[in-house]
Amino acid sequence: MSNSVTNVVIGGLGGQGVLKASDILADAAVRAGYDVKKSELHGMSQRGGSVSSDVRFGAQVLSPMVPAGEADFLLILASDQVEPNRHCLREGGTLIVPEQVDVNRLANRKSLNVALLGILSRHLPIAEEHWQAALRAHLPEKVIEDNQRAFMMGRQKQPETKN
């Protein structure tokens, strides 16, 4: 077990931007200089079913999949997806759920994934400039401002749920 590896699992439903969120996180971690691996399943999951994505970063990452019970962070985009993913989280790990974001304050509700990344970002050793660069690299120009605001909203937000 590499203690120096940070394990994040992002879960939600097809179409919610689970993979986009994990792309942004993985890119930010690469920019911060870490070894990074990201894994998920495509295919059948595209049709509205459960989707989850694992992102691991640290000095050296081996398996691309977060072993069950070893996720330091579980970030969930749809409330009903907490239970199917809870087994990923380690004891004492941090659960981040959609209720932590006031969607009415989002310019675009589709930015929920990025707002939750903002909350996650408070816990991770990745500088804000890398997050901003990753957002710019993975989002189209016309939605970038809304998402930057959503990210900062999450990043500045206080409350969090401990498992």
């Binding site: 077990m1 595209q46 398996s63």
Partner: protein, 536 residues
Amino acid sequence: MSESNRLLLSGDEAVALAAFHAGVALGAGYPGTPSTEILEEFAHLGGHAQWSPNEKVALEVAIGAAYGGARAIATMKHVGLNVASDPLFTVTYTGVTGALIIVSADDPGLASSQNEQDNRHYAVAAAIPMVEPSDSQETYDFFLAAVELSERWRLPVLFRMTTRVCHSKTLVAPRPPASPPPAPHYVRDVRGRVMIPAYAKPAHHQLRKKLAEIAAWNETSSFNQVVEGNGELGLITSGIAFMHAREAAPEARVLKLGLTYPLPFEKITRFVQSVERCVVIEEGDPYLAEAIQARGIRVTGKPEMFRFGELNVNRVRRILANDTSPEPQPKPGKPPMLCEGCSHRVVFDVLRKLDCIVTGDIGCYTLGVLPPFSAMDTCVCMGASLGVGLGLRHTLPPEQARRVVSVIGDSTFVHSGITGLVDMVYNPPPTGHVVIILDNSTTAMTGHQEHPGTGRSLEHEPTNRLVFEDLARAIGVKRVHVVDPRPFSPEVEKVIKESLDSGELTLIVARRPCILIAKQIREYEKCATVCEANEQ
């Protein structure tokens, strides 16, 4: 710590980049999870890529390119190699002039497939050298090395990947080769390329000679690496299992095999002798364990329960502890379903209402098996809806036979439905038959790829279009209907009912673009019209 040339790539993207850097002149394939992105990315980088009607044709196209001295790739998912297995088993006899890399993307754990077959067996059966990368960097490096191997021994190479190698993103530092690819040029070699028995017999001997040479070369090749560790525990592994194994047992000494057919048995013997206990960690079938044990080398395989599904770090820990207690099952997530507004829903509603016996096929519409539709009775493989439907029609008692309907998607029909339709014309059942092509004008399940029926190429450029209704009439189907399965349309039910009652072979094309890309299709069409106008 940061390096500017580090790219976070999926294994599929790494294949594409390596193929592009190697100067691969042509890539052909058929979409299939988890292989689809390879050709899309190769085309995006500027490579020449095409979707073929099916994997057999794709491999034959790639063989042609490699006969002409070019570097070529054929890409497919594991079950696609079944379709392409006919040319596979003989192209090893003929060999190639250029390089031919056949990518097989296996799906252990069935993330999006009808079975979890282990295509490493094909390497042995077809006598083709096989390479297995474990992450994207290795995928990139091994691909370039596989091209060299293919050109050196003038043999195709099976590049065997799995879902987690294809779809995981890991860092890649590209190292493009300095030398350009050889220019395509045809050299006649009738005895080497025309496999009549008189020429095929010596070709088989030649093939076995080449494999013996490769086996000897593989004893010291850089495809296989030993990761030092203490000598109490040794692990022999390949592909993604290597990553899980290293994490599960960081203290172990590991022999990581990259060229897994033909195997370097002397190297394996020496490794096994260097450790007290040696366990083979592999995903899927016990391919390595059985091959090694058959040589009389003492290694332990995994318990039978780990043949099923993917491996992961926890499962490798269990294998090492010989823990065969029941594994915890995570709560099921939400299953996928047909999209709201999907035109397939309209057809399945009718089939359920009419209590049809539905022989189904492979695609989004396979989801018609799930509630609320529960309107699919069989699904075997690409194109099987027609043959299976015909068999049922021929043998069931008439009152049941009359209810049999074959349902197939547009891309799947082109892939391997056409010959089934020919069989229906040739061997018509007494009660007739009804075939429905669910034509949503795309290969939806794999992420909306083009096919011959869309009239657009892999890169969405206009090309010749295969028209299903014209094709059906041309092969002798007398009753052909095209219907629009828009929501609440009474037309679909009326046509299906009349067709069932007619007692004759009927093809119904239920045509409505997939709602997920209907807008995109209109854009492609608009582009095509503008291009055409500019040309005139």
